[in-house]
Symmetry: C2
Subunit: 519 residues, 2 copies
């Protein structure tokens, strides 16, 4: 199991297939393999040795895909950097794994110049753009054109292929170490669960640094599907590409689907080539799926769930879940069933499987579970216990094996011995028409251990008091789950890079000097 085998097989079995097309550049799989092998030689000439880390900070492109295969072909380890971070985070993500080479495109030249003094580990900068080559950088094509193809370095199986940092709404970033085996095994699972086909044309519309898109990066290459790219998500660009390139598969989030199906120019484009929309991160609202099926009747929707630590796929819905008149329509809020080669269980704190319907922690066991966190063996040991990875997500499984995510385990509140899932309380608060934003956290309480505490921001001009919020919730959820205290806030909530509310920050003032089991 070598990640590079995906490219070799695609070049062997689909020699005429277009591997990549982007901004006028087209490469077949044999050409793609040739470029990957030449770029590997280029990396060797930069001094890359087996196991060395290579970062990339760039928008989507065909070269990003080449990067993903050239680095392991050369024996290196790729480190894709989240493009939405702040400069100090870029520094951490490059310095922590000691990247010795950094690939960067036009969009990030400026920030890289700024942080350059702080990333002394990076000895070589490769410029991925087509403009004037910045001082002190090596043009990408010079690493490809002039070089003979390298022999594959032959790293594989349990050797490290890549490090993906997780944003994390809590604590510091963790580098998820994924092996060749992890990624190849996940590609097989993803090809099955996400119905990838050799005649697929996949559009990288989600960011390539994120392993959600990575599912398709590796799965589609394994199936010898064809790759297309847009630098960043833009609804009209997506429509244009679907029409012009006859895209069959995309992977996006529901809000992006919303933007597509409600786009004023939707009717101007022919989107009939589209076969699969894979989405994740949140369930599909019923109104949205109705609208989507109406405007794209041939498309099959698949919800996928996973996490970087699992390479990433854990579960996926059968497409039939989205047939609103069908027998599986009631599963629309679930994130699906275990992928064919993956074991999923809902475990309690003692590691015992909970009965169907009861909430516990979503856990998994399979060859796609990471090697561990980079330089954090204790956190690794705490995350993978008895062979089961603990996702940190609270959820339950129904009688048919469908998994429903309810909350982050870290955001669960233990009040008077009862587990309260903050997401459930938040959903109740949100149903009050005056509320614009809400977060529910556990705060220390002498009597209850933790107390359910709601932080609420109201719509401009609206008024509401603590008692009214509590009374509102009592109409909707069990008494013990209702907030016992409410705080009103005028400013927007602190958000993570991925747009999630940073509850760690919200909890801080309450827990200063006190110990909470998980932060």
């Amino acid at each position: 199991m070598y990640l590079t085998q995906l490219v070799r097989r695609a070049a062997q079995t689909s020699p005429k297939q277009i591997a990549t097309r982007f901004q006028g550049r087209t490469h077949t799989y044999p050409q793609f393999q040739d470029r990957v092998a030449r770029l590997a030689t280029g990396l060797h000439k930069l001094g890359l040795k087996a196991g060395d880390r290579v970062g990339v900070l760039a928008l989507n492109s065909d070269r990003y895909l080449e990067f993903f295969f050239a680095v392991p072909w050369a024996g290196g380890v790729f480190v894709p950097i989240n493009t939405r971070l702040a400069p100090p985070e870029f520094v951490f993500w490059l310095a922590d794994p000691e990247c010795s080479v950094l690939f960067v495109d036009d969009a990030f030249l400026e920030v890289v110049q700024k942080i350059r003094p702080e990333i002394g580990c990076v000895k070589q900068f490769v410029y991925m753009g087509d403009g004037a080559v910045p001082a002190g950088m090596i043009p990408y094509e010079s690493l490809v054109e002039g070089n003979a193809p390298a022999a594959d370095a032959g790293r594989g199986f349990d050797e490290l292929a890549g490090i993906f940092y997780t944003g994390g709404t809590t604590g510091r970033s963790k580098g998820v170490m994924l092996s060749h085996r992890n990624l190849v095994y996940c590609a097989l699972n993803a090809s099955l669960a996400l119905r990838m086909r050799p005649d697929a044309v996949y559009l990288h519309a989600a960011p390539m640094f994120h392993l959600a898109d990575g599912t398709e990066t590796f799965g589609m290459t394994m199936m010898a599907g064809s790759h297309r790219f847009i630098p960043r998500f833009d609804p009209e660009e997506v429509l244009k590409m679907i029409d012009g390139e006859k895209i069959t598969d995309i992977l996006i989030v529901p809000t992006m689907i919303n933007m597509l199906v409600n786009h004023p120019k939707l009717k101007d484009y022919d989107v009939s080539s589209l076969r699969h929309i894979v989405y994740g991160a949140s369930p599909m609202p019923e109104a949205l799926i109705r609208k989507a099926v109406e405007v794209m009747p041939k498309v099959r929707f698949i919800q996928a769930y996973g996490q970087t630590e699992c390479s990433p796929l854990l579960t996926a819905t059968p497409p039939e879940v989205h047939d609103l008149g069908g027998p599986l329509a009631s599963k629309l809020k679930s994130c699906g069933i275990a992928a064919p080669g993956v074991e999923v269980r809902i475990l309690d704190a003692a590691g015992k499987e909970v009965p169907r319907g009861e909430v516990g922690e979503v856990c998994a066991r399979a060859a796609n579970v990471m090697l561990g966190y980079w330089k954090q063996p204790e956190v690794t040991a705490n995350t993978i216990r008895d062979g089961w990875i603990h996702t940190g997500d609270g959820g339950y499984m129904d009688e048919d094996g469908f998994v429903y995510i309810v909350d982050r385990v870290k955001d669960m509140i233990i009040s008077g011995g009862e587990n309260v899932y903050s997401a459930e309380v938040e959903n109740a608060v949100y149903r009050h028409p005056a509320v614009v934003e809400c977060a529910v956290i556990g705060v220390p309480d002498e009597k209850w251990g933790e107390r359910v505490h709601a932080i609420v921001r109201l719509k401009p001009g609206e008024r509401l008091d603590e008692a009214a919020v509590i009374e509102h919730c009592k109409q909707l959820i069990a008494n013990y789950k209702c907030p016992r205290s409410v705080e009103f806030k005028d400013d927007p909530f602190p958000l993570s890079g991925a747009g999630k509310i940073l509850k760690t920050e919200l909890r801080k003032p309450y827990w200063a000097g006190k110990a909470r089991n998980v932060n």
Copy 2:
């Protein structure tokens, strides 16, 4: 990667799906899992310990499928015995791996009673039938009914799951050791390449002891497909089952397809449920595929190729190969392209890849390659070299990555430094209308090293001499490939259990006292 995970996932995600139905017995996947876990307890009570081998000598049934999962669930290693062997071979296949338990059904009671004195390793006999329990045997259901379900033994990854003996037309039988990882990885590949679907109803019509059927045993269970069984192949029984059970998938050999499509009662049965016919062992004659498409227009045909040592799948044709008017129709004689997670190369004797179109040895590399041969480390080392398994099959790959098998490497003749593939010469000889049977072997020759020698049996009443055979061949193949000597034979040729001509036997008189590189 645990083989037993396939059952757990199917029970979890498809609780209402029928796992097995056979002779009036029906079990859903949760019931199947429960029976497997109880049978594991039964095995523990018989004294089975981790790693102990358990043989089975039986025709196809639902209990055979339970056996395949109960043995690893109990921590044991299954050893399915070829039902077509002679008694001394049964003895070897049971004694060599020291099976301590043997499962046997009605069809093999008599022979087992006969060989019992010679298989002292077997301490317990489990009777799989429903008749009167033979003396000294334990009834199968008593190991299930009375027992509580066992916890899964937790063997997995590179631990041994099963030993499959290869018939082998040369030398003594070899026990192929397959790990949990081998079989799970192959199940993923097979599900993709053979287009298995969760709504499939698969008929075990080929013998379950053989890993060709095993591809579907494990793949269909991974996909939570539904299993049906006939004890042994019989064309009308197959038609009856397709009609009655709405079978969607079967795996058979082309001669069996021939029997089906030319069956006089074909029209009496509704075979419209059939979606996939997977076949192997030999290519599909064009006349047969034409006829098959005519009578079963909805069926997609897939040719698969592999060997027990590879768990077994290596290549498969895209179904489109069988669209005779389609762009891939010219590939009908190939055995397909590498399965998604498998690397296939054609290597020369020095381990170097040969150019496309040139014949070499078919080699493969993937996580489905066996652990090795049971107690034969030297043969193992000779078979898996530099990480590549050498299949022993001579073949070539075309420009599109399609593999064509031409001969067993062992049957290749090296004459005057030229490689001559016996199958090619035999094809030429067979085209003479007087010939009924033919085998071409290499015999020692002072001038050429080896000489191409043809052994020919003529149709009754026909006459032909050596010069005429050679002259006939010269019209069809290159001079250096033509036989230089011809021998006529009146008796039928010695055959292996699988019906292959035993060339080892034919070579023996010529090579007595002389060394041939491969025998």
